[in-house]
């Protein structure tokens, strides 16, 4: 879906993005992670041509982005940034309607879309549509920012540290909300972050960048299993990597038949969450239930510990 082909960008002779290539499959989430100055934001901004590359090409659905006028390209691609960038002089509804209005949608279609998105982000349209951004809390502003990015139903959504300004609790909620929305619309998402936890939580694939170079691009498990460089190894963290590994799979794959006493664990929980529950309960084994509460079997501490061993 998004094909980045040996893209280079130089500022003053220095390459801030240096011959980077990778492709993001349709309907997946790719996370660009790296320290500040690694070139990840510049790379993101080249996808919608806010920055134009000096070398290489970026193809979207097989089409070279340089063949499309910049503003038209950007109307097709959702764009959400840190600190939301909402227009302070426009109401919430007007902000969300930005791209549909540029695309000259009919009034009724815009209104319906705004109401749909507000409801989706749990902001009552009757209450929030006519408010100005400064009358919202930080979490609400961030949601409106994402709603605005999604308003014209883009197939691609670019996000630059969208949750950076949120406190940890709100950030977790916002991340889960994003995952739910991605599932619902099947949007291809490229998201920039410096938070490796966020990368592991959200990413189907993770691209690690440092000093303009792409060090590694792959599934989260690949980063744990075979870090390409010491930088990647350091970034994913040596002391908590077994827990990260467990966080990548649900307990569905480790459930065994049988019963056990104690507080049941939901089948949709990650192995990391199950491990935490077992450790906290001081139990060797706990029951597993389906969402509707039906007994499915049990999970053993020993099995989970086995899952945390470095994959070969």
């Amino acid at each position: 879906m998004i094909d980045i082909q040996s893209v280079t960008k130089r500022y003053g002779g220095k390459a801030v993005v240096d011959a980077v290539s990778f492709s993001v499959p349709e309907g997946s989430i790719a996370v660009l992670v790296g320290t500040s100055g690694s070139g990840k934001t510049t790379l993101l901004r080249m996808i919608n041509q806010l920055v134009s590359q000096d070398e290489g090409a970026i193809l979207i659905g097989g089409e070279d982005t340089r063949g499309i006028p910049g503003h038209e390209l950007r109307r097709r691609i959702g764009y959400a940034i840190q600190g939301h960038g909402l227009f302070p002089h426009r109401t919430v509804a007007e902000n969300i309607a930005t791209v549909p209005r540029l695309l000259k949608w009919e009034r009724s279609r815009i209104d319906a879309k705004v109401a749909e998105l507000l409801t989706l982000f749990q902001l009552d349209p009757a209450l929030y549509a006519d408010r100005y951004p400064h009358q919202l809390s930080g979490g609400q502003q961030q949601r409106v920012g994402v709603a605005r990015a999604l308003a014209a139903e883009p197939k691609i959504l670019l996000m630059d540290e969208p949750f950076g300004a949120l406190d940890p609790v709100l950030r977790g909620t916002a991340q889960d909300e994003l995952l739910a929305i991605q599932k619902r619309f099947g949007t291809t998402i490229v998201i920039v972050t410096h938070d490796i936890n966020e990368a592991f939580h959200l990413g189907d694939t993770i691209a690690v960048m440092d000093k303009g170079k792409l060090l590694q691009y792959g599934h989260p498990i690949d980063l744990l299993k075979t870090p390409a460089t010491p930088f990647v190894e350091g970034l994913v963290g040596t002391f908590d990597r077994p827990f990260r590994l467990l966080s990548l799979g649900t307990i569905a794959s480790v459930v065994e038949p049988g019963d056990a006493p104690g507080e049941p664990i939901g089948i949709d929980k990650t192995q990391q969450e199950a491990l935490a529950a077992l450790m906290w309960a001081g139990a060797q084994v706990l029951p597993v239930t389906a969402e509707d509460g039906a007994k499915l079997g049990r999970v053993r501490l020993e099995t989970l510990l086995g899952q945390a061993i470095r994959p070969q």
Binding site: E72, Y79, G83
Partner: protein, 245 residues
């Protein structure tokens, strides 16, 4: 806006109108200020018409200056106009550094006596506040906001009209406000070169040692400045409704 703060302004406005319609009714106030046989109310022309001419002069000069200053500021904040910024700054700064009297002295030989030199002086004087305020407003639109405008598919022109300009308007009006108030005061000096302004009243008072005349001219100018300042402040606030709401 609440009603109470409006009351002193309404009183001032009614006093101003009443005085212009019937200056004689206020004679008792000014009588104690003059010698027994001197006139207590300006009698060398109509105060009302001088006031209108004064307002007209300031209005035209400020409008012209606003058009030029805003256009210049917009030009030099566009990517293609950035190299003109130092030049534009120099031009508007020269307007401000010349004392108005010097502008008049220089303009009279070229334009002759009358309204012309004063219009030029007021115009030059009004440029700087409007230019600097417009510049500041346009260049301090938060980066995240203009970035979001562009990132959501606005063209440069759409970003300007739909985002940058509306966000800058209150500050631009603030600049116009400063220019107008300066203009009301400065216009009086124009009467030294025969411009038709309220300065005539003050000069007549100085020439005939008539304190009542001087006060009438000065008070009228002050009242006008205060009322216009308030009017423009109201406009400024109404443009920022989104901030106060």
């Amino acid at each position: 806006m609440k009603f109470w703060p409006l009351i002193p302004r309404l009183i001032l406005l009614s006093l101003l109108i009443a005085f212009l319609v019937s200056p004689e009714s206020f004679e008792f106030l000014f009588k104690p200020l003059v010698q027994a046989n001197a006139p207590a109310i300006y009698n060398q022309g109509s105060l009302a018409s001088l006031t209108l001419l004064h307002v007209r002069m300031v209005f035209f000069a400020t409008c012209a200056a606003t058009i030029v200053a805003v256009a210049l500021a917009i030009l030099v904040t566009r990517p293609f106009g950035a190299e003109f910024l130092p030049l534009a700054r120099t031009v508007v700064n020269i307007g401000q550094t010349f004392p108005p009297v010097a502008v008049l002295a220089l303009a009279v030989p070229a334009m002759g006596f009358g309204n012309g030199p004063t219009l030029v002086a007021l115009f030059l004087y009004a440029l700087l506040p409007v230019f600097e305020n417009t510049m500041t407003a346009l260049t301090t639109v938060p980066r995240a906001i203009s970035d979001a405008a562009k990132g959501n598919g606005m063209t440069a022109l759409q970003t300007f009209w739909q985002v940058e300009l509306p966000l800058s308007l209150p500050m631009i009006v603030g600049g116009i406000k400063i220019s107008t108030v300066i203009g009301f005061g400065t216009a009086t000096i124009g009467s030294t070169v025969a411009a038709k302004t309220l300065g005539e009243v003050i000069i007549a008072g100085l020439n005939s040692n008539n304190l009542a005349f001087i006060l009438q001219g000065a008070l009228l100018v002050a009242a006008l400045a205060i009322l216009v300042f308030d009017l423009l402040s109201m406009l400024e606030r109404s443009l920022m409704k989104w901030k106060a709401a």
